[in-house]
């Protein structure tokens, strides 16, 4: 395919840091795995092993620029985090991605809108703490997924020669070294107003979510009403009081021990399957057919095995 070195199916990309030190990144086309929850588009996703610990998205984008436009970069070590608080970090990402590639936004926009329209009431938006572009130092030997915009860039990437070390594009956007630590120290101490707004908006969101989950919960009666002094208002209704949700459930011993509810609630289908004679006959016939079919299949399989096992002298 190319003159570059291959190791275990990975293409070796040498990168020179300085005249004496050379770093190696190992690249392979991403093969989507059915089990993996977050599957990247196969065909245009590049899987990188041993990305430098201080690599930023921008660094990798710059590195891969000759082969095509990069849609996004995901570092595997913190992909879980990004999934969890996508809403929080969206504004931040949007800023960063915006300049480099417009398509990414277009694609993410409808998705977002969809999500929002699903909800009846718009949740309060969390005002993020002011953030500076900061390098995130991850553990060494990390892996990353790079999604190209189109499939051709991936081919271009693998057909290119990777024998000569390329210099590492250290983007100046995010500071490194001493200035990194100064910037970090500043960004950890945001102005008090920003902290207040952030905390308040986060609490609003929390309360909104709480109210939502309460609406969905079984206990329609809602929470007990607690006044400012901490007293609970007791209202009329039910033997066990309305405040606790209008009733008391009793746990069985089995539930207490295992934490599992019994199977009683599982509904059996009301239709009987072998009541009439024709039902029985049909069932038997089907079983026989199935048996024959399986027999044929097995025979074919055995033939195939036999063929493959044949001694084959050169």
């Amino acid at each position: 395919m190319s003159s570059s070195t291959l190791i275990n199916g990975f293409t070796v990309i040498p990168i020179s840091y300085s005249s004496s030190s050379i770093h190696y990144i190992y690249a392979r086309a991403h093969v989507s795995n059915k089990k993996a929850p977050n599957s990247w588009p196969s065909g245009r996703t590049l899987f990188l092993v041993n990305a430098p610990p201080d690599a930023t998205e921008r660094d990798l984008i710059l590195l891969l620029k000759p082969y095509g436009t990069v849609e996004k970069v995901i570092f595997d070590s913190d992909s879980a985090v990004e999934d969890a608080d996508e809403e929080d970090s969206d504004s931040e990402d949007g800023e960063e991605e915006g300049g480099v590639h417009n398509h990414g936004d277009e694609e993410s926009q409808p998705r977002k809108r969809q999500k929002l329209t699903m909800k009846k009431v718009e949740p309060p938006k969390v005002l993020p703490l002011p953030s500076m572009p900061l390098r995130k130092l991850r553990k060494t030997g990390q892996t990353a997924h790079v999604v190209f915009l189109d499939t051709s860039s991936l081919d271009r990437f693998f057909s290119a020669s990777h024998t000569k070390p390329r210099s590492w594009p250290n983007s100046s956007e995010e500071p490194s070294g001493l200035s990194h630590y100064l910037a970090l120290s500043d960004s950890l101490r945001p102005p008090l107003d920003a902290v207040r707004q952030h905390a308040n908006s986060a609490m609003d969101l929390y309360e909104f979510e709480l109210a939502k989950s309460k609406r969905q919960s079984k206990y329609k009666k809602g929470e007990a009403i607690v006044d400012e002094d901490g007293f609970t208002l007791v209202t009329r209704g039910g033997a066990y009081g309305q405040t606790v949700g209008g009733g008391v459930a009793v746990a069985t011993k089995k539930f207490q021990e295992t934490g599992e509810t019994s199977e009683r609630t599982k509904k059996h289908s009301k239709e009987k399957t072998s009541f009439y004679a024709f039902q029985k006959a049909e069932k038997q016939r089907n079983e026989l057919l199935q048996l024959k079919k399986n027999w044929e299949l097995d025979k074919a399989k055995v033939e195939k095995l036999k063929a493959s096992r044949r001694f084959n002298p050169y």
Binding site: Y24, K139, T140, S185
Partner: protein
């Protein structure tokens, strides 16, 4: 009786064998002989036993005693008997020929044998007998304590060497007698003593006793063991090097004024004359606050540190006055230890002395500033707070910083703007002092961990705003995360306060509901009721990021909010009770730091946490039930004074002795032997009564040291992240080297400060890579063990480097509490490359990092995607030829990693040196 001979002679250093030093004026034969008789007589006649006790006690020895019991009884006699005041007479057949007064008038110690002709202890100094008593007592204690806990006392009592001076004496002074000329030579005494040198020794002993008075409990004069001499030589060659060992009485040892006789009212002018004669021009007539005008000797000191030098100054003074031994003849190494705990002069001159800018420094000032902050916060929480009032009132503000418990290496200094402006960049470090705020309980906290963190932010913001509004000159900020970039479930919000005087504080909020919420995640009981147990733990529990974060958060919660305040209180109490404790801890911390190991109970920094060092040091001060004894001491000061006295002598009275004890312990500590670790009875039974023992999460502990206390049964809360077995072995090796160095100082009496620094000088040959840092931007460089002073003071005049300009521009005159670029870089490197190498650094202004590669990574191994280290394909052809069949193998890419480090530390790192090892 050979048993006793062996104990006293061999392992305690009273005999004449082996190297080392022995106690002056006592040979074992002299001592043991009487005990032979003692026991023998005792068995014969029961009435004699009473005589030995001398106090009408019940007889301790009977006929049917085993040899072990006799041994113990003899030790007991040695330990308890007051030889100085109570002469001992072995019962003689026909009564004694001379009265006890007759012996006492000529000999210090009297022990007359049954023939009534020999005083066996003639020529023995009372100090030596006292020392013998203490050593006997210590042996007894070993016998007692070992019988309780399983363990054989035999090796400790008979096999280990107890001759070392530094763990037995609070102060050891090395004296060269070659130039000694007694002021008033007494020929009769010389004749009595047998030789001139013996006479000098005995007069030194008596002069010192007079000069030091009740400052010390024991004065022992020790000299090197004499060598064998040829038969042709008539007189033994005596060495003119002696050691004076003192054991302090901590109540009086550092007294600044000695009162003498009153010349006006005293009818006896001889006493006044004697006093003047003894002290020379040091004696002066003074009028004191109570109106008395008496002769007195005053030792003036500038700082509290100097107070501890008073006993040494007294010894030097009297030796010079009475024996003409100059400064160069009297040597100790105490000042050297003081020196490593002080800032260099070029920095400290801004704080103290006539050029000082008049700011309060030291622990007192820090405590005062802290009290101010506490008051200001409490006002905010009360009704007086007005508009700024906090919604919940503050219950408690507990300090958790070593700067508020006297155990920080350097005494705390503030950094007001006035001083910051004159200091150069690499001396401008302000250490934040941590504390914990506890609010009253409320049901209105959200029941969700992430939301709790937001509420904390809101609270801290409110406090910061309120403080800035009320306290003039105070600056406050909210720190919203830490460098490692953690999950928003972790409790990272802190309040940073810088007061007008330049003190920095960092506060956290303790919310006890968090523990419950975290436990729910850990035990997976989030949605169910507490009495319902889940069976299917293995599946759902182990997975999930939340679970791991929760484990981590729970661990830091336990440490920060439960153990830290408790530990702080206990240590502070210890510092008040044992004056030498704080100093011991400070030297010990400096030692660990100088060997690039100290720091980080949270696993971010070094390998041995500050609190672990404090606990280790406490081991030598506290005994089971010390708190109760302490309270009793105050009540029954008079009643049982002697008993207290005896007990206290085993406890180190000076920081040097404490440090030596620690080193001696570490060098022999076999931490994995019992699997239980050591137990430090830091908390008395009273203080833990009614307190539920907090559960510690020990599953993630990597440390091998186990230091148990009553509050921490597993003993790993402070050693959770290290030292692991590799580091612990290294600590032991370092301790062994240090011990050798201490021994060397003891024998050679190396002069003054320079030699002590060798203990703190770290060998760097073992590291694979040394990273040099730019000294001009290290904000703590002035705390370095051996700073290049020119770098500190001349910086203002010197042409500034570009780095420094950048730093200065970025700092913009702002003071950043706790900002230390080297430490930040160190923590990042340690975290990023935790599977690649071990990195070491001195937190106190160290200007180098040391790196040791993980040796297993140098072996070629098959390619793996999640290798968690930076690798390259093995280049050597033969390695490929062997393995290329099955899989391509890879090795660590050292150059690549170093290149990354260089990039990450741009502006901090000066250069990288690779140690070539054969």
């Amino acid at each position: 009786m050979p048993l006793l001979y062996f104990v006293v002679g061999k392992s305690e250093g009273y005999g004449e064998s082996g190297e080392g030093v022995s106690v002056q004026g006592s040979t074992v034969r002299d001592l043991v002989a009487p005990f032979e008789i003692l026991v023998w007589v005792d068995e014969e006649t029961t009435s004699a036993g009473r005589k030995f006790g001398g106090r009408g006690k019940k007889k301790q020895l009977g006929k049917g005693l085993s040899s072990y019991q006799l041994f113990r009884a003899a030790l007991d006699f040695l330990a308890k008997h007051d030889f100085e005041n109570e002469p001992v007479f072995v019962k003689a057949e026909g009564g004694h020929r001379y009265t006890s007064d007759e012996y006492s008038s000529t000999h210090d110690v009297v022990f007359v044998d049954s023939s009534s002709t020999v005083n066996l202890l003639a020529g023995v100094h009372p100090g030596s007998m006292k020392l013998l008593g203490i050593d006997a007592r210590r042996t007894l204690e070993t016998l007692n304590s070992s019988s309780a806990s399983s363990g054989d006392p035999f090796p400790e009592v008979f096999l280990s060497d107890h001759r070392d001076l530094q763990t037995r004496f609070d102060l050891v002074i090395h004296v060269d007698l070659s130039t000694a000329k007694p002021r008033s030579p007494n020929y009769h005494e010389t004749l009595d003593s047998g030789s001139a040198s013996n006479a000098t020794l005995s007069s030194i002993s008596s002069v010192l006793t007079q000069a030091l008075g009740d400052r010390v409990r024991v004065i022992a004069i020790l000299h090197p063991t004499p060598n064998t001499r040829p038969l042709s030589q008539a007189h033994p060659s005596t060495s003119h090097i002696i050691h004076i060992g003192l054991i302090y009485n901590p109540v009086h040892a550092w007294r600044q004024v000695d009162h003498g006789p009153n010349p006006a009212s005293d009818p006896d002018p001889v006493a006044v004359e004697q006093f003047r004669e003894f002290w020379g021009d040091k004696a002066e007539l003074r009028r004191f606050k109570d109106g008395s005008i008496v002769e007195s000797v005053v030792w003036d000191v500038k700082t509290i540190d100097e107070k501890t030098l008073i006993p040494r100054r007294i010894v030097a003074f009297v030796l010079k006055r009475h024996f003409g031994i100059g400064e160069e003849g009297v040597r100790g190494w105490q000042e050297g230890f003081d020196g490593v705990l002080r800032l260099p002069e070029s920095v400290s001159r801004f704080y103290v002395g006539e050029n000082g800018l008049g700011v309060g420094v030291g622990f007192k000032a820090a405590l005062g500033a802290f009290d101010g902050v506490v008051k200001a916060i409490k006002v905010l929480s009360s009704d007086e707070g007005g508009n700024d009032a906090l919604p919940l009132s503050v219950m408690n503000i507990s300090p958790t910083s070593e700067f508020l418990r006297y155990t920080s290496v350097f005494s705390p200094v503030p950094l007001p703007d006035s001083i910051a402006s004159v200091l150069s960049m690499n001396t401008r470090y302000l250490n934040p002092i941590e504390f914990v705020i506890e609010f009253e309980r409320s049901s209105r906290w959200p029941d969700d961990l992430r939301a709790v963190q937001k509420v904390k932010l809101a609270f801290l913001e409110k406090i910061a705003r309120g403080l800035m509004g009320r306290v003039p000159g105070l600056r406050a900020a909210v720190i919203v995360g830490d460098a490692a970039g953690t999950d928003d479930m972790n409790d990272v919000a802190r309040l940073e306060i810088v007061t007008e005087e330049g003190w920095a504080f960092v506060g956290r909020i303790w919310h006890d509901r968090e523990a419950v919420l975290l436990d729910r995640i850990i035990n997976n009981t989030a949605s169910t009721l507490p009495h319902v147990t889940r069976k299917d733990k293995s599946q759902s529990q182990r997975q999930g990021k939340d679970y791991h974060t929760a484990i981590q958060a729970r661990e830091s919660y336990t440490r920060l909010y439960i153990h830290a305040p408790m530990h702080h209180r206990a240590i502070a109490k210890l510092c008040h009770h044992f004056p030498a404790f704080a100093g011991t801890v400070r030297i010990a911390k400096r030692w660990f730091a100088a060997h690039w190991l100290l720091g980080g109970a949270d696993g971010g920094g070094g390998y041995v946490s500050e609190e672990a060092v404090e606990l280790l040091c406490a081991k030598f001060f506290v005994k089971e039930g010390w708190e109760a004894e302490m309270d009793r001491d105050i009540e029954e000061e008079e009643k049982d004074a002697e008993k207290i006295e005896q007990r206290k002598m085993v406890v180190p009275g000076s920081k040097e002795r404490g440090f030596a004890s620690l080193i001696q312990f570490i060098k022999e500590w076999n931490w994995d032997e019992q699997g239980e670790g050591i137990f430090v009875p830091l908390y008395g039974s009273s203080s833990i009564l009614g307190l539920k023992q907090p559960k510690a999460v020990s599953s993630m502990s990597t440390g091998v040291w186990k230091i148990r206390t009553a509050m921490d049964e597993e003993g790993c809360i402070w050693t959770m992240f290290g030292p692991d077995a590799i580091i612990a072995r290294r600590v032991r090796a370092l301790a062994q080297a240090t011990w050798g160095c201490l021994k060397g100082m003891e024998m050679n009496g190396m002069s003054g400060g320079g030699s002590v620094l060798t203990i703190f000088d770290h060998p760097t040959d073992d590291y694979n890579v040394i990273i040099d840092l730019d000294r001009t931007i290290l904000s703590r460089y002035h705390q370095n063990i051996a700073p290049d002073v020119s770098q500190l003071s001349q910086l203002l005049r010197r042409k500034k480097s570009s780095n420094e300009d950048e730093l200065a521009a970025a700092l913009g005159g702002k003071i950043r509490p706790g900002f230390d670029p080297a430490m930040l870089l160190y923590k990042d490197l340690k975290r990023v490359y935790q599977d690649t190498f071990r990195i070491f650094h001195d937190p106190f202004g160290g200007d180098r990092f040391g790196i040791v590669w993980d040796p297993s990574l140098k072996q070629p191994r098959p390619f793996r995607v999640l290798g968690s280290f930076s690798f390259c394909v093995t280049s050597s052809a033969e390695a490929k030829g062997k393995k290329s069949k099955d899989k391509d193998s890879v090795v660590l890419n050292e150059q690549g990693v170093l290149g990354e480090i260089e990039r990450m530390g741009r502006g901090i790192i000066n250069g990288i040196t690779i140690n070539v090892q054969e």
